[in-house]
Symmetry: C2
Subunit: 499 residues, 2 copies
């Protein structure tokens, strides 16, 4: 309770919070899948019940328009319900059963049964750019609660009141569903020290973060300093390189301009999947595309960014990029509505200059995109491979382009967690096949995703029961498969009973 | 090639090795599942073709008896063939397909398809106590090659010649299967620097280690120091606590003595699953059990340990443990064959003393076991919870014991990766349901296992293809499911085609 007040790190009783999180975990994990699912669904209902008040508060705190926030809220409640469905269905525990073979030589084979269990209390750090879907009751919280973990959210200072409203909705759900009061706790503090202390507390089992490279890496470092290291999944920056092939530039230029301009400026470019880098081989068609793209971008009416810190960083980083030797500004937006200086910009540079200047590889968080004009496909390949780990990389091409560049396209998986074909990178669909992750520094562990049902895998570990009496086995591992979940039984996938 | 010579770190061309590993990875991963499977099977065949010469060399280098080594070799080739079967069957890639919904509101749904792909070159550090199954062509190598990774093994100095023989077998398999020559490379060096340099090389994608806490944690630290952190799976020490309940001590004492004495002394106690800690509530039956156990252990004829360093550490650590205040030596082995001083010992201590002395929580690698005599079940619980993360924990009890202690037994998953019921912890069955892992310091990441087909998950990451033309999709993600692998298609598990 204390933790929800506006307190300073010195007065936040972190020991008490984490001890409560651990106690709540021990109780919460024993709930049936149906109880956990109802809890997740009730959180979704209670968030919806906040109505316009929540949207208004978020809009006030983040400058994001109501339509966008309404969509984000729908995504957030959809995620909670998606995890509820997953938990109810039950196969996500990856159950596996190998029955005993008493007569096996040289030694009898014991009965072995395996499933996934929750890690423990998870600390979630919300994102500034997604006050709902990647924050208080966002994907990290939903997946951790689905796993059976308790959660402590460190509210993002940029939308602390919104976070508090969502917290109240979760508290109502906790009461309605008779869940342990501290299965979800909410800490609000402006400072960095609280975050560090939460990550390093002995009772903390894992950490989820969405935000900047500096923030995500700092948490990773804090976890490393622990006596017992714990998993930290930080989803961090990305410039999401987009390749434009020749044939499509020649034949689909107008369409590409519209798609790309929309993607760069969507939500004032404040997405981790915002395309910050274009790569193409120089040609007349490319120049035409760039001119038209810049023209299209110049028509865009900018709006306020999430908060002053982000706006300031955007302007500084854009100016720094544009001032690099060899960088040509094609065009900035013509508008300066309400004195907003956040002008989308499209710039260009040669392949060689890009390869030799690490500053140009840095993310400019906001509506900005740099075109790297390569002298040939070999240089394009080198430029593409020179960027560090990415959330996405995209390929704009016709069938002719793809067939002409098959070997090049094979590189894509090495670069990113998701590869788009003739699709803008923005727009992260929430479904089992989504991968929102990628090699460092896109995330701290490329083996996981932050979006979709598989994001639950970040908060669970396998446990094996050897020769366990049937009456002590968890429901998921008993001979009778009452929930008809999919299990690997003696190497065969089946939703039947063990015979 | 150079790398197989007895070289010093200064002369090992690590850059060349890692560059070759990366090049080989790019070629190797493109092999079909059938080609990779044949390669793994051929390695198994070639290891078997080495015949007695391999067993003799390993026995000479490790002091392990031929019978044990023959069994271990069988396990090693079985593992290679198990992964071959997994790769051929193909469902291990966790394929998932969500087809497009062009009419979805508010935005069309793109086609999304996901599968697991290999991380890149993996460095494997072999274990001293398993010259075959956890070394050169052991579980780490087999799972990494199955994933599609190239491998660089740093040979364990304690059985370097055995390692070299296995390497020759793999080289023959590489030639026979027409695989890239450097898909597997072998580095032999006594120093620590080479290991550090391998872990920190930019081309290295992941690390597998089996051995001591100090060694495994050091590699973890080296990886952390990288510009881009990479996954390190270190499987380290464990004392594998065994709980003895009252009713079974009263009724099954003789059987328990036999089982436990066998487990403590198996392979001179040189297993990471060796039971180093017993916990029970004090009783007359417990005293009788302890006396009989010590009597049984005293009959054991010790043999030479793996190497002098391990023998020295065993004697020192055992003496240190036995010299702690409050520790009573029950009995040591009566034998001192061939002047071997490695005498198995059983000791006892009170719960309170154990709780207050961290030295008693440390692993004594070798045949040694400490009984913690608790004053009641509550103290037993505290003692059990006081040990750090374990590979296994075991429960010896009758149905009456288990029913009387249901709440206590629920703690077990928090302690270890595997829970044994009336089974000794030694003997790690290789099957899909096995978990050879556990919370730190048992391993550096409890979300993975080092044994069984799921160990492949350490070396892979998911990749998502968005709106990818059918002709560019990997075989596993095409509409026609030619291999009939299990895939999640629009949220339904099926081995059919996409319609």
């Amino acid at each position: 309770m204390l933790a929800t007040k506006n307190t300073t790190s010195a007065t936040i009783p972190l020991d008490e919070i984490m001890l409560n999180a651990l106690k709540a975990f021990d109780k919460y994990k024993k709930n049936s899948p149906e109880q956990k699912a109802t809890f997740l669904e009730t959180i979704a209902n209670e968030i919806e019940a906040l109505g316009d008040a929540l949207i208004n508060m978020a809009s006030e705190e983040t400058n994001l328009p109501a339509a966008r926030l309404t969509g984000e809220r729908a995504r957030t409640t959809m995620q909670l319900r998606m995890f509820a469905t997953m938990v109810k269905e039950g196969s996500w525990v990856d159950a596996s059963i190998d029955t005993s073979m008493p007569d096996r030589k040289p030694a009898p084979k014991p009965d072995l049964r395996k499933m996934l269990i929750p890690l423990g209390p998870v600390i979630v750090f919300g994102a500034s750019n997604f006050p709902f879907a990647y924050s208080t009751a966002g994907g990290d919280t939903a997946s951790a609660l689905a796993a059976g973990c308790s959660v402590v959210v460190k509210a993002h200072p940029a939308h602390a009141k919104t976070s508090l409203m969502v917290y109240e909705a979760i508290k109502t759900a906790i009461k309605k569903c008779n869940m342990p009061a501290d299965v979800f706790q909410h800490v609000h503090d402006e400072g960095f020290k609280t975050g560090k202390d939460l990550v390093q507390h002995p009772a903390t089992a894992a950490v989820g973060f969405t935000g900047s490279l500096s923030g995500g890496k700092a948490l990773y470092d804090y976890a490393f300093e622990r006596k017992n290291p714990i998993p930290v999944f930080s989803e961090m920056g990305s410039i999401n390189p987009v390749i434009f092939f020749n044939d499509t530039l020649e034949n689909n230029s107008a369409e590409l301009v519209k798609m790309y301009a929309g993607s760069v400026t969507l939500g004032m470019g404040q997405f981790c999947t915002n395309p910050g880098l274009m790569i193409a081989v120089e040609s007349k068609a490319l120049n035409t595309f760039l001119e038209n793209l810049s023209e299209e971008i110049s028509k865009f009416v900018p709006s306020k960014m999430l908060h002053e810190g982000i706006q300031k960083a955007y302007i500084e980083k854009q100016e720094k990029a544009l001032s690099q030797k060899g960088v040509t500004l094609i065009k900035k937006s013509a508008y300066q509505s309400n004195g907003i200086k956040t002008l989308p910009a499209i710039a260009a540079v040669t392949g060689e200059t890009f390869l030799n200047n690490p500053t140009l590889h840095e993310e400019v968080f906001g509506p900005y995109s740099l075109m790297v004009k390569c002298k040939d496909i070999d240089e394009l390949k080198r430029v593409w491979l020179s960027v560090s780990g990415q959330l996405t990389t995209s390929l704009m091409g016709t069938d002719k382009d793809f067939n002409d560049n098959k070997e090049l396209i094979e590189i894509a998986p090495a670069i990113a967690g998701r590869i788009n074909f003739n699709n803008p990178p923005t727009g992260v669909d929430v479904c089992p096949s989504m991968v929102h992750g990628g090699p460092f520094p896109a995330t701290t562990d490329s083996r996981f995703t932050a979006v979709g049902i598989n994001s639950v895998k970040r908060w669970v570990r396998p446990i094996c029961f050897q020769n366990c009496p049937e009456y002590l086995l968890p429901l998921e591992l008993k001979n009778i498969n009452i929930k008809k979940i999919w299990r690997l039984v003696n190497n065969q996938l089946t939703n039947g009973d063990v015979e």
